[in-house]
Symmetry: C2
Subunit: 325 residues, 2 copies
């Protein structure tokens, strides 16, 4: 008799497990975010669009989320991390070929200080990206990955790849758990970011959309190689929605950036038949990171009017880096 | 008492459903394929790479499958379906602007016969793709989708979008069920194929890699638009592995094509640390479709030496089209 009762209990418990829906408690998600209206808006958005009973429901295949990288997912000051890499590399090349010291832009880049590098124009940035032309893509990504692992940030004294914002990494995971397809949409070069995107953000390489070079295919006796060609598109500003169309073919419903380079991505995302949400990270935490409005003036000015959400690092991030206490 | 018994039966049945693993029988998969060594090789490959105990196991994130489209997933004779669309459109434009009749390539395209259109050079094809420059991408895909739905094939007398090979559609589904990420890698233009890729192949638009134009973003009073620019890459031959790297960043382990335009995609796929399989569809079924070797001479010549599998439509396809009896 007792055995029968036990079996019945086990059976009922098993059924219960199958049919009982366990709602995720709000305080369990996004643990490195402070409670407040921003966190609440994010969670409400996700709960709304994933609820089949809600008129705002979005089917999983259309849950496209796009994140900027520099200043949104990782540190962009005092200079973009990719610029730090490119100049590190150019300096090594100049040391091996001293004649280049007299030739621009090698000369300026070799003699550069932080202020100069922080103000590089797009043309010089594209020149730097193009300096890898003819390199095997595999070698390039290996070199980039090594740099990000071994070289350290001048202020934080940590390897560059540790300078990712923990609350943002949590947000990516939260969206993925809710069947969003998370893409990175960055002005950085695709291969550069692919070298670490899976490891540090859990964003698969096929979901990285950056400034991109066309490639060439080489083959010799069965051994194949992909070689870098010229940069075909610089992925900032108007380039972001343009390349979102090229690589995804769907409009995002969730966009997160931090600068005026994300303005058009927000415009595109907001012009949506589905519910959508645009968020912009405001660097206002001098104690824990750095504080600046430069480069984000237009977004900060128009956010309220357009319904874009300004995320304050100071107010909304409980913890910034994984290495923080 | 009877109710109690019924409840117990329901409980036990429910438990059974949860724990009973239903293996898929070999004869249930790929029902439109004839039994034989080709079908067996495909199934063995999939079973090998999805078995965690097998040394040839491939983790799901690296199960990249790439399919050519024209002549592989749908009919490519007497002319490529996209060429039929482009010329249909050019003829309408010329009729509305008779002066164009005197200007090349309008003149030749307007006066064209099938033989001429079957032999168009890549330059003219790219000119045709570029003729959509300045069009809204949305309008372009709508027009392409309408054409494929409403216009009929000269021989089969069926709407173009019905001219997909049923065994190939089954193969895509079989790979997807086994957690492969299936991409289309076609010389056709990305937007053209995206207009029907989800509907007819269950390939999401973000997995379509074709010849591609760069886009422009326009915005006015909150309304946004993506507008077509110039073709930046023609996705055939060496272009296929190059653009696989650009859009996926991973090497395929499964490649299926039908012509010499897929040769480099096979080379790239075969040069793999993982197990890989390359298949090429041979159009050898004059009774049910059409029979030709032209354009596939190199693949047919080297297949055996390279271990690429020639799939005979006559021998390996039990049924070709959904509308076949």
């Amino acid at each position: 008799m007792k055995v029968k009762v036990l079996i019945r209990v086990i059976l009922i418990f098993s059924i219960f497990q199958v049919f009982y829906y366990q709602p995720v408690k709000a305080e369990e998600v996004l643990p490195s975010w402070n409670e407040g209206s921003v966190k609440e808006k994010i969670i409400t958005f996700v709960e709304t669009v994933t609820d089949p009973e809600n008129p705002g429901y979005i089917p999983p295949e259309d849950r496209i989320a796009t994140f900027d990288n520099d200043g949104t997912l990782w540190v962009e000051k005092p200079i973009y991390i990719q610029i730090a890499y490119e100049v590190y590399r150019i300096k090594k090349i100049v040391e091996e070929n001293p004649d280049l010291k007299e030739i621009e832009p090698y000369k300026s880049l070799y003699d550069s200080n932080t202020e100069y590098l922080a103000g590089l124009d797009d043309e010089t940035i594209v020149w730097l990206f193009n300096s890898h032309k003819g390199t095997s893509e595999k070698d390039y990504e290996k070199e980039a990955g090594d740099f990000l692992e071994k070289e350290t940030h001048p202020d934080f004294k940590r390897p560059y790849k540790e300078l990712t914002y923990l609350p943002m990494v949590e947000l990516i995971a939260y969206l993925q758990e809710n069947n969003f397809k998370v893409y990175m949409v960055t002005a950085g070069e695709t291969g550069f970011v692919r070298s670490i995107s899976e490891e540090v953000y859990n964003i698969p390489v096929e979901n990285v959309i950056g400034s991109f070079a066309l490639y060439e295919f080489k083959e010799s006796e069965g051994k194949t190689e992909i070689v870098r060609g010229e940069i075909a598109a610089f992925n900032a500003g108007e380039g972001k929605p343009a390349n979102i169309e090229l690589f995804i073919g769907k409009k995002p419903v969730f966009a997160f950036g931090n600068s005026d380079g994300d303005f058009e991505m927000y415009q595109y995302t907001a012009d949506n038949e589905y519910p959508s949400i645009c968020l912009s990270l405001h660097h206002d935490d001098l104690d824990r990171e750095v504080s600046y409005d430069e480069g984000a003036e237009e977004v900060l000015k128009f956010a309220e009017e357009k319904g874009w959400i300004i995320v304050s690092m100071k107010r909304d991030f409980k913890r910034i880096f994984l290495f923080d206490n």
